[in-house]
């Protein structure tokens, strides 16, 4: 399970917990997130701008 971070605002998408409000149930893989999805927190950055996040 991986995490991806928005380089603009720091929003983190975690495959493990998903994002319920956005309609991605827990376990939704990054690859299954639509390509035209933008950061739900800032909308300044798009999916392809996100970086893999290591904690």
């Amino acid at each position: 399970m991986n995490k991806y971070v928005c380089p603009g605002c720091g929003y983190i998408y975690s495959e493990e917990s998903g994002d319920e409000f956005e309609g991605f149930p827990a376990g939704t893989k990054w690859i299954d997130i639509p390509a035209d999805w933008a950061c739900p927190s800032c909308a300044v950055r798009d999916k392809q701008d996100f970086q893999k996040f290591e904690d």
Binding site: G23, C42, A43, V44
Partner: protein, 392 residues
């Protein structure tokens, strides 16, 4: 931040939080229609039902002229402290019930006490303007990444009947800002009136479209109770429906005028915030990332206080989650005055274009092709602004 350095802006740093105790002033504006009514009742002076319009259209532009700009920023460590200080967000929370109090009190007064059409109209336009301020508050709250503030946004946006704002603004406008795809970014050559007729329906359609996409992913219908837009409009229905039921048709002009004029307030802000500015297309076909130069900035202190720093719009679009009290003044295109004064200019399209078109061109070093052009006027604009260019 050298890449935005088109204005030789010398960054001013301050450590003292000089505006801290000024931020309650918008709360006073939120109840100003009631204050106006009370003074009117005490003095009989027929100007006082018009207190709020007089404030917004006369005293705030005048205040901007007299007190000028405040373009100082906090250094990063100080900024973080101030951003985390809950005092500021509590002021915003506190304003939410005030918009309800003002709306209900004014409706009651108009329906049962007001004895002249001019008093009725003055209070109605006053409430239209506090509805506009409710939209500013809804904007501030809707950007925050927690459910508490998002819920408060729905509640406050119900007063001006603009429950689709959060969906439309956060996922639509911010994604597409300063591109031809955005109904909420004005184009060079486009008059305010043409823009309003494009933006208001465009925003509504985009909001429902985006909310539908989100709900579909969850396997829900657009009419589900999880629809954030309908939740807010349901509260509007209770408020407006309750007023109509209680006071009858006498309240109908109040509802229509205050709501439509309030929407106009929002639309006019949108009009001036990105007029003519364009994010350039990159080689990979994407628009360049939103930077301060894609929004007009205004540092005029009086109108900035009244709008919770909304006018520091360049920074807002670069960092949309940043709280109002720490929004920065940027090396960005600068409006000639605050929003209150710009509103009146925008109402007069010839004046607006005289003041603004050359500013847009200066932003692009005279290259009209880099601006966001009204497609209907594209050829005429190119002819007009490349005339005398001997480079061809």
């Amino acid at each position: 931040m050298a890449q935005y350095n088109t204005y030789n802006h010398v960054e001013k740093i301050k450590t003292k939080d000089t505006k801290r105790y000024l931020w309650w002033l918008p709360l006073l504006v939120a109840v100003s229609p009631i204050i106006g009514i009370k003074i009117y009742e005490a003095t009989g002076n027929p100007l006082f039902p018009w207190l709020t319009p007089i404030l917004w259209y006369i005293f705030i532009p005048l205040g901007d002229f007299v007190f000028g700009r405040d373009d100082a920023n906090y250094r990063d460590s100080r900024s973080e402290e101030i951003e985390n200080d809950v005092f500021y967000k509590w002021l915003v929370f506190l304003s939410v019930p005030l918009f309800y109090v003002t709306w209900i009190y004014s409706a009651w007064w108009i329906a049962t006490v007001a004895n002249s059409t001019t008093a009725y109209l003055g209070v109605t336009i006053g409430v239209a303007l506090t509805n506009g301020l409710a939209l500013v508050v809804g904007h501030e709250l809707g950007h925050k990444n927690n459910q508490q503030e998002k819920n408060l946004a729905k509640l406050v946006l119900a007063v001006p009947a603009y429950g689709h704002f959060s969906a439309e603004h956060n996922r639509g406008h911010h994604k597409d800002v300063a591109t031809p795809d955005d109904p909420a970014s004005a184009r060079l050559g486009e008059s305010l009136y043409k823009f309003i007729l494009r933006e208001i329906p465009g925003a509504f359609v985009r909001a429902f479209h985006d909310e539908n996409v989100r709900l579909k992913r969850k396997g829900k219908s657009v009419f589900s109770i999880e629809n954030q837009i309908l939740q807010s409009f349901f509260i509007t229905f209770l408020l407006y429906g309750g007023a109509l039921y209680t006071w009858g048709p006498v309240i109908l002009p109040f509802i229509l005028i205050s709501t439509l004029w309030g929407w106009q307030f929002l639309s006019t802000s949108n009009y001036i915030e990105h007029y003519g500015l364009l994010r350039q297309k990159q080689e990979d076909g994407r628009f360049e990332r939103t930077r301060p130069e894609h929004s007009w900035n205004a540092d005029h202190i009086v109108s900035n206080i009244m709008t919770f720093h909304l006018q520091r719009h360049s920074d807002h679009h670069s960092r949309p989650t940043r709280r109002y009290q720490v929004l920065r003044s940027d090396d960005a295109p600068q409006l000639p005055t605050g929003y209150a004064g710009c509103f009146t200019m925008a109402y007069l399209p010839f004046l607006w274009r005289k003041v603004m078109d050359h500013r847009v061109l200066e932003q692009y070093n005279g290259d009209i092709l880099k601006a966001n052009l009204d497609p209907k006027k594209r050829d005429a604009l190119i002819r007009k602004y490349t005339k005398g260019d001997s480079n061809e």
